[in-house]
């Protein structure tokens, strides 16, 4: 039975990767479309540079294409692909440290943002930008093991189990770590109301 465009959306991630392993490249395209933006925002939190983050996401998708048979249905597909993205982001960070260069975030004209439907006034938008910068700075000031879990839980909105599998730490430890990370983040943002 052919896989028409409408029916692609009803498959789970695990079903799509299984189809891709059996040779259906349309399943791969669907997986790329589902995860490219999510992974971009995830990797950006680590690298701080949007262009580099997109390169890492490209490498992640290419790795998914090359190593599709490495995925076994022991864990969720999201766990697997987030782990690949995180490892590639860490590799890039290590390279950056060796090069000792600083990258500035650049906004490309081609890039799109998700814009709210209601147009805010200028003061409000400036205030929101300030708040977002403060939050970003507070996240970057967290210890690495707190930063990862906060990003995965409160920004990527993954479940505790998925986070536990990605970070390779027991579930109880993850819950405790997220709790401590939230308290510490609040300490960083005391001046923000």
């Amino acid at each position: 039975m052919p896989l028409d465009k409408k029916s692609e959306f009803i498959f789970t991630d695990e079903e799509l990767i299984s189809r891709f392993q059996n040779g259906d490249e349309r399943a791969y395209v669907e997986l790329v479309n589902r995860y490219k933006d999510r992974l971009l925002n995830f990797v950006f939190q680590f690298l701080g540079d949007i262009e580099q983050a997109e390169d890492v996401v490209q490498d992640t998708m290419l790795r998914l294409y090359e190593k599709k048979h490495y995925y076994k249905e022991i864990a969720k597909f999201s766990t697997w692909i987030y782990t690949i993205a995180r490892n590639l982001a860490n590799t890039e960070l290590r390279k950056r440290k060796r090069r000792k260069t600083t990258y500035l975030s650049q906004l490309s004209k081609e890039r799109q943002f998700e814009i709210p439907a209601i147009q805010e006034d200028v003061d409000q938008s400036l205030q929101n930008e300030f708040i977002n910068d403060r939050i970003q700075s507070a996240i970057n000031n967290l210890p690495e093991h707190f930063k990862v879990v906060i990003i995965l839980r409160d920004i990527q909105e993954l479940s505790y189990e998925e986070i536990s599998n990605i970070v390779e730490v027991p579930l109880g430890t993850i819950k405790s770590r997220i709790n401590r990370a939230r308290i510490q983040l609040q300490a960083e943002l005391l001046d923000l109301k």
């Binding site: 925002n41 949007i50 490209q58 998708m61 294409y65 081609e110 977002n132 409160d154 609040q186």
Partner: protein, 178 residues
């Protein structure tokens, strides 16, 4: 409930993963300690702000760039085929593990049979090979036996002569008492 226990339960309370009895205890503590209620409220606000961080989107050319990389991968035979897996391992890793396995078997055999003499084994093999070569020569087995028997007879006759000599000698030799 003390402050430490309260802080340990903040996330569980916010994520609604707390038992009813613990929830009541938690809320009672918040009522008795206004600063703790402010802390919980602030953390909830932070989570909302984190959810509202602007989300980036990939460039419109993302899929095209990815496709060109995939085409490069497919056209380059050196990159290999991901289907060539042996029990989940790449061929190189599988051959390395197989070598380790053979080395392990060999070392275990050495530890179990330390008295095993490889040199003796090789020598006995050489002897066996020599014997088989002798049999395969033009002399037949009967000739071999006959010649051996002749040798034995000769030796026996020599030993008899020696015995007679000994008898003669005994008549000649006299033991002298001290």
């Amino acid at each position: 409930m003390n402050r430490y226990q309260f802080e340990d339960l903040i996330s569980s309370y916010i994520d609604n993963e707390i038992t009813l009895s613990k929830r009541k205890e938690f809320e009672r503590y918040m009522k008795d300690n206004p600063d703790s209620e402010k802390l919980v409220s602030a953390i909830k606000g932070n989570i909302v702000k984190l959810n509202q961080i602007p989300r980036f989107k990939v460039k419109s050319s993302f899929n095209d760039t990815l496709k060109s990389k995939i085409d490069d991968f497919n056209s380059n035979p050196k990159l290999g085929n991901a289907n060539n897996l042996i029990f989940g391992f790449s061929p190189l890793n599988a051959s390395f593990l197989f070598g380790l396995f053979i080395a392990f078997i060999f070392i275990s055999f050495q530890l179990i049979n330390p008295n095993f003499d490889y040199q003796q084994t090789s020598e006995s093999q050489l002897v066996n090979n020599g014997l088989s070569n002798d049999i395969n020569t033009s002399r037949n087995l009967n000739e071999v036996i006959d010649s051996d028997l002749a040798d034995v007879k000769e030796d026996t006759s020599k030993s008899e002569i020696n015995k007679q000599d000994r008898k003669d000698l005994t008549n000649k030799i006299q033991f002298v008492n001290d």
